[in-house]
Symmetry: C2
Subunit: 210 residues, 2 copies
DNA sequence: TTGCCTTTGTGACAATTGACACCGATGCGA
DNA sequence: TCGCATCGGTGTCAATTGTCACAAAGGCAA
């Protein structure tokens, strides 16, 4: 049972639906870096993010990774939707980018609520649509941009997430998210620093432009 | 009005639905290379592919392109689904890979049939799911694989589409689909030929392994 | 046949990125 | 304070890919 407090932020949901979500959903808290999902895991519930953000990553067979997109307040995971309906294991990794809170809704409700609540149906379709856009942006980044711009955009996204001027990450962590090496990130960060876009600190990067 | 012939291949659809599709859908034929959709275009109908295949490409601002995935018989375009429901223009390009036939279903039916026909709902969700998988594979290709393997896999996919041992394409066309240069493709094809995987001809590549 | 356009082949070189080695700086805990 | 693990900085070199220049080969039409 979830407190009314947490779900009333979804204004577009019917009161009855919010009630249903609170009744059947369970609250989950994640620390920064904690995993919600990993490749191979079967998903039996749909997460709706109340607070914080999740980083969605794709892994290859050797464990190499690449960042796909962030999920933030109000978002839900399209992978969970597809995995649940097809009863297949996840093919992505979801990890908390910051301390986060989410509601886990049992899969069975997905379909049932779609027929019952128009707002739920709209929400699910909007989720698909947004994740499609996110995936296309990930493709753009990989296909068309060089590492320096990919890094710069990643930093801006991370800063925007928490609306802060500091991004807390080591060079190695950034390298992992871009599927490159730590040295390359160090070099490119120095370049960005030379351009006056950032100031590097230990474990932390200061963003100089909005 | 579409002939019964063409839609009866969708065995999972209820007879009533097939009837409805035939009543409201319009048939469209595409020559190889003909465009069904381009970025910026508003989509007012959902295409269901009856014959042939479509190549879905992503473009950047400068017109550079990268291949995303193929749609074949029975498939529908998830982009159309998201674009229609959100009433936004397309962000991808769809072009016939071979002579193709499709049914165009008016957008209004999308929602209506979802409530009416369980099989249509399942079809739409399956479409989302499959395109998600396709996008993930595109990301894998871009993020984790080098150009030689990307080229080899593209050739295999193209050969599999038509179940033939010849792929009809110039080096320039392949280069465009992989967002690289013609010279690189030529070099890598020579390498594949050296490995005995293909034989190159003018305008045509002969696949040696299944 | 001749001319011309398209396609393919290739050498040389540059830019980007990846890999390795190694060192210095920072910060924490014993 | 010392020891140690983590993090960041840098030089060198290699692999991959992109770019340019130019030539050869294939095929079509006058």
């Amino acid at each position: 049972m979830v407190s009314t407090q947490s779900t009333t932020q979804f204004h577009e949901f019917e009161p009855k639906l919010i009630e249903d979500i609170e009744k059947t959903g369970s609250l989950k808290t994640l620390e920064t870096g904690e995993e919600l999902m990993r490749p191979g895991m079967y998903v039996r519930s749909i997460p709706i993010i109340l607070k914080g953000s999740l980083k969605i990553m794709r892994q290859d067979e050797d464990g190499k990774e690449t960042f796909l997109y962030f999920l933030t307040k109000g978002d839900t995971c399209a992978m969970s939707l597809t995995c649940c309906t097809a009863n297949r294991p996840s093919t992505v990794r979801a990890v908390a980018e910051e301390p986060s809170e989410l509601i886990l809704v049992p899969v069975e409700k997905l379909d049932y609520w779609m027929t019952l609540y128009p707002s739920w149906k709209a929400y699910v379709f909007q989720a698909y649509q947004r994740r499609f856009d996110d995936m296309l942006e990930a493709v753009d980044s990989l296909a068309f941009r060089k590492m320096d711009e990919r890094l710069w955009r990643l930093l801006k996204k991370k800063a925007a997430l928490q609306e802060k001027r500091y991004v807390y990450a080591t060079h190695q962590e950034l390298a992992d998210e871009l599927n490159t090496s730590r040295e390359v990130v160090t070099r490119l960060l120095k370049k960005l620093e030379g351009l006056g876009k950032i100031i590097t600190h230990r474990n932390r990067i200061e963003m100089m432009t909005k």
